[in-house]
Symmetry: C3
Subunit: 155 residues, 3 copies
């Protein structure tokens, strides 16, 4: 459990959902050298319950943005749960924001901002914002948003 | 040709398809420092023949999983063919599993397990399983699955 | 502003569009160690004007390839604008080519070649060509192509 990150989350009063169990043959996180990689995360609400729906048809863009924030809280939970206590995240490197969007939906970046604003809040404007793509796909279990990310950590 | 990997594949009795020729302006693999990157691979059956069909409409989820395993065999063939003889793969870092899935298909992780279980068999549970996203897209030539991956290698 | 790259672009007589302002909470580029990461770029034509349309329905594959080249020119503009003057790009590592394609479109690699051929021209065949995936998604603002990339740079 990452101690520093846990303290920062408590300081901000964020409520984290439980870390999801892998839904297949993969690790939730992997540390290689000074990089932390996190597998694609969905919006977990509580034990075994995810948000569902397609953005642009079932959900509007603000509901999609809320789902992306929930993906961020889920990713924080995954990191806090699985990373070693000594982990220090230096910065966000890269985010791939995948929106389960209707074919004609146009506002994927707006949706993924729900995730990016949360990480800017937790790690600060300088270190919490990295490069990003925000695009439309079809997602497992009809979740509205899935996001994977890579971080720079203290070696 | 990677000697160690070739021996492991023979030991397991795996039959590899021929390594595909690039379908565009890219390299099949690239080594940068202690990283091996592999371009998106499709499920090659034999010389110039690929598996086809959309998962969730043309193919069911088990046929999709079989296609993902074939992508894995194709990726092993690509690595064995193009990597230097001295290559030693230390571990799988990251897998992006792209399923050509019907819009309402929900089981992308199950499909991509066909690839991940193969790599766990070849490299072991510890080193063969990395982080992953498994999502739905539209794929070239109507192939059912395309997967790209990054590996840690001995420098 | 990257001096060497700017000179190379002038030497080739390439006309770059203005670098786009981020459409969300992300950085256009990020340098971490000897890696340069570039956020997903769309095809900018001029100040506040993008190319639009779905490839395989609104646009044919050659128009799609033209759009991918425009994404390449946009990415060069982004790098030239935001990278430090001393930046030296050693090679292309990885390209993710995302085509806003009709569900039954089959020629994503052909489309993304528009980008890859430009980078081979600018950086040479050896260093301008890396690993790649070229796949179909839905994209923000109905742009035809979006591409993200990673480069090896002099440390």
């Amino acid at each position: 459990m990452s101690k520093l990150l846990k303290e920062r989350i408590e300081q901000l009063g964020l409520h984290l959902p439980p870390a999801p169990k892998p839904a297949g043959v993969y690790r939730p996180i992997l540390i290689v050298g000074n990089h932390l990689y996190v597998s694609g995360q969905g919006p977990v609400l509580d034990e075994d319950r995810l948000m569902h729906g397609r953005v642009g048809s079932d959900l509007n863009k603000d509901e999609g943005k809320e789902a992306a924030r929930q993906v961020g809280l889920t990713m924080l939970s995954t990191i806090v749960t699985h990373a070693p206590e000594s982990l220090v995240i230096k910065r966000v490197i890269k985010v791939l924001g995948m929106v389960n969007a209707a074919p004609d939906f146009e506002h994927h970046p707006y949706v993924i901002n729900g995730f990016s604003e949360l990480f800017a809040e937790v790690f600060g404007e300088e270190n919490g914002i990295g490069v990003r793509s925000a695009v439309g796909m079809h997602l497992p279990q009809n979740i509205p948003v899935e996001i994977e990310a890579a971080f720079l950590i203290e070696d």
